[in-house]
């Protein structure tokens, strides 16, 4: 694609995830109380990788689930199209657990706000911590990530895309400048 | 206004006298003075009013022998005056109106009332049809003789069937005394019970209760047998099924005095018009299948069907803008009949003279009224038709008080340009244009 710039290649992505896995285990003093929830859809794949990495560091496998934030979005009335709902799958209790919420890109913070509402509707966790692979700034709500793969200053017109092997065939993060369409 | 009226330059179609060629017509003192070669009356007609009918047809005044004028009792839907005006706008010089008014026309007083209103309207002539039974209740014969003296031309309980076969027999016998036809609305009440459209795949799909063709055919067969038994004069109203047409055809072959009628909507629309729960496609008998439309057209072609009549049934918008189950049956038809029927000539190979016959001498014979011909000395009822006129029908511009029609906004070809009753122009397309301009 024209103008596309790779800001993280597959090795950088893998290194970032490894580091984040270590940070999670360290900050939470082990993995026993953890629950990893990915925000659809790329968050789900990141969760699978993090779980494997955490298992390599600490042994054991924390439970994982997927959160669909469609029903919690604040912009549903505005769009003419009704977004498809794939559903939330968290088939275990999260009360008193440390929930690690995982998403690919943190931007305005509205997705995370919706995800927090979804998580609170599922139970009362001990804590909710946020993992993002990329933080591109321009927050519109007071949301911050606890674990960041890479801080990426961007302008509003640019578009940031995380591509993952599991669904895009390749691991990288690319920035595309504003559309001239 | 002159006592004399000359219609010149047109093609006269007078099936009663076997004429179908370029002729001029001279009317004097309300009667047909003469029909002659083009230009024949130039001298004689000095000072007469002239109607130029170049490229148009000149026919005996068209007759619609099945309309509902709703007065007395339902004036919010139509009155004798508005109905007669709508008839004239549709090219009809005479209509016969049914007895299902309120009170029912089952006695001389109501008959006289209707005739009175018609005289005041000064549009198309109105010939009342009296009830067969008191109150249309199907139990006791109405005072047919009294009504005959007051001016009815036939009897019918139309709107409802005469369910009691014994009563129908007596009616056919008794009407012979007055040489009148019994006009039958054929519907077996138990087979038709609660039905709102033709019974078939469409009614099944739409979840609406259906009226099977058998509901009509069983009664047609019954009444033909009764006509044979009584030697009475039977006229079957608004045929809607192929089976009915065939029964009538057989009866005629056997030489029985049975005549039959079809409506323009049954000659053009099928049950599919109900799609979307369109209440302007709800009427009784209901719209049926393609094969029925084909059979009715064939019936018109071979004159098994003697008469075409509209069954003009005005209803108020509050009676039609409701759920399909609850909506009243019927549509108006006086102002759309002619352009629709003219299409049969091209589309269905109906001969011109056959079509005009079904609207003139056909109904005149059934009702026994001195109309439907351009013979010398006949009443000066004439319709001038432009078969090529292109126009658009808007229900809101019609003369009828009601708007319940499935043909609203249809592009039409062909229309009456001048309607003349007893030598007087009661409607002309030019005045219409001036009015709406």
């Amino acid at each position: 694609m024209a103008g596309e710039r790779v800001v993280m290649d597959s090795q950088a992505v893998e290194r970032a995830l490894k580091r984040i896995a270590h940070e999670i285990v360290e900050r939470n003093r082990g993995a026993e109380n953890l629950v990893l929830l990915g925000i659809r859809s790329r968050g789900e794949f990141l969760v699978q990788r993090l779980t494997r990495l955490i298992g390599e560091i600490d042994g054991g496998a924390p439970p994982t689930g997927v959160v669909d934030i469609t029903l919690y979005r604040d912009d549903l009335s505005r769009s003419r199209q009704t977004p498809a709902v794939k559903g939330t799958e968290v088939p275990f209790p999260i009360d008193d657990r440390d929930v690690i919420l995982v998403d690919d890109v943190l931007y305005t913070g509205r997705t995370i706000r919706a995800a927090l509402d979804a998580v609170i509707d599922l139970g009362r966790p001990h804590s909710v911590q946020l993992v993002v692979l990329v933080d591109r700034g321009h927050r519109e709500l007071p949301i911050r990530a606890d674990y960041v793969g890479k801080n990426l200053p961007t302008s509003r017109g640019e578009s940031v895309q995380v591509r993952l092997r599991e669904c895009d065939g390749v691991d990288d993060v690319v920035i595309t400048p504003a559309e001239e369409a | 206004m002159s006592e004399r009226l000359l219609i010149t330059g047109g093609t006269v179609i007078d099936p009663a006298n076997g004429i179908e060629e370029a002729r001029d017509v001279l009317i004097e003192a309300g009667l047909i003075r003469a029909v002659g070669a083009p230009g024949a009356f130039r001298k004689e007609a000095k000072g007469a009013d002239v109607i130029e009918a170049e490229g148009q047809w000149v026919t005996p005044g068209l007759i619609d022998m099945h309309v509902h004028l709703r007065e007395p009792g339902f004036e919010y839907r139509e009155t004798v005056a508005t109905g007669a005006a709508a008839a004239a706008a549709g090219g009809f010089t005479a209509v016969a109106c049914m007895a299902n008014t309120k009170p029912v026309n089952d006695n001389a007083a109501v008959t006289e009332y209707i005739l009175d209103r018609a005289r005041m309207a000064r549009a198309a002539s109105v010939f009342p049809i009296g009830a067969v039974s008191v109150g249309l209740e199907g139990k006791q014969l109405a005072e047919i003789g009294e009504m005959r003296r007051a001016g009815i031309v036939a009897i019918s309980d139309d709107g409802k069937p005469v369910g009691d076969s014994g009563l129908m027999r007596r009616a056919l016998e008794y009407a012979r005394l007055f040489d009148m036809a019994v006009i039958a609305h054929e519907e077996d009440p138990q087979l038709a019970e609660d039905g709102v459209m033709n019974e078939g795949p469409t009614s099944l799909r739409l979840g609406l209760k259906g009226i099977p063709p058998a509901a009509e055919e069983t009664m047609v067969a019954r009444d033909i047998a009764l006509a044979e038994l009584t030697s009475g004069k039977l006229h079957i109203a608004h045929l809607s099924t192929a089976g009915s047409v065939e029964l009538v055809r057989q009866a005629k072959r056997r030489g029985l005095a049975v005549s039959a009628e079809a409506t323009p909507h049954h000659l053009f629309l099928t049950e599919e018009a109900v799609e979307g729960y369109n209440t302007n496609a709800k009427m009784n008998p209901p719209l049926r299948r393609e094969i029925d439309v084909e059979a009715l057209r064939e019936g018109v072609r071979d004159e098994t069907i003697d008469v075409i009549a509209t069954d003009h049934a005005p209803h108020h918008v509050d009676e039609k803008e409701v759920e399909f189950d609850v909506a009243n049956f019927g549509i108006i038809g006086l102002e759309t009949a002619l352009p629709l029927l003219l299409r049969l000539i091209g589309e269905a190979s109906v001969a011109r003279s056959t079509l005009i016959r079904a609207l003139t001498v056909g109904p005149a014979r059934v009702l026994g009224i001195p109309r439907g011909t351009l013979s010398e000395g006949a009443v000066g009822d004439v319709t001038v038709i432009d078969p090529a006129a292109v126009w658009r029908y808007f229900a809101r511009e019609g003369r009828s008080k009601s708007r319940n029609t499935p043909f609203d906004e249809w592009r039409m070809k062909g229309r009456a340009t001048c309607t003349i009753v007893a030598g007087r122009v009661v409607w002309s397309a030019e005045e219409q244009r001036r009015e709406t301009a």
């Binding site: 029903l71 919690y72 794939k86 509402d117 | 795949p201 739409l206 799609e275 249809w410």
Partner: protein
Amino acid sequence: MEYRGQHLLGLEGVPAEELEFLLDTAASFKEISDRDIKKVPTLRGKTVVSLFYEASTRTRASFEIAAKRMSADFISLSSSNSSATKGETLLDTARNLAAMRPDAIILRHSSSGAPHFLAQRVPCAIINAGDGSHEHPTQALLDLLTIRERKRQVGGLTVAIVGDILHSRVARSNLIALRTLGAHVRLVGPPTLVPSEFGRWGEICHDLGQGVRDADVVMMLRIQRERMNGNFFPSLDEYSTYFCLTRAALREAKKDVIILHPGPMNRGIEIASDVADSEAAVILDQVTNGVAVRMAVLYLLVNRSRADVDANTPVEVVHAPPVRQRRRQAAV
């Protein structure tokens, strides 16, 4: 994929992909009813009005629960407490309601076509909760969802629908949707209740044993006592002798057959008690799925852009079945 209709008036004309999409969406809503806090904020501040001209406890309750779990405000009107008893027409009632700007009206009415009538005249989304003998789309959707859960997919299944097909809107919606999804449908009942005209939609069977032979799914319909007065059958006893689903009759079906019933059941008349309580009967699943289906329908229809409702224009009926114009009719 999306559901393109602005209303849910029926399943006729809804293509297979949209049906599957409706079912997928409904499936994703199921887990909400398993949570401790059974609510999502999606329809917060939206108003849903249910207008029921026919008595119904379960369908109305199901819609109400669905709406409330989506955080919508739900108003319930039934014919006894509505102005219909004062002689107000359906149109006037609907117009009055519409002036209060609801986001959706759920209508159950005894006249076929009543929801279509409203949809042409009122600017909000209309959901058909059953119109006369015409359709009951949410019932069919929940039936399909239940079948799909147990049987993986609907296409290729043999489904027997037994009972008063003629008067049943549940039967109609189901057979339309089942055919769209590629199931083989058998319609079973006496000739008075399963007229031959239905032959174009399914295989007609007047014998119960033959009807359920090798069936994967058997759907029983309620027999209404009023039908006896219309002479559709002489007595309930005689009807049940020939058409009651008993264990014996069920032996003809496949070993893993499932049995559905829209409820409420007439035990001993159309279905034997032991069959109704057996493992094969998935009636309670149907009820659970009913709430999920109705949540999905509300989600998909109520979230239209407010602009449509504000413009006060009647919204298009997208899934009207194709009108085959007669060549001659040429209406312009």
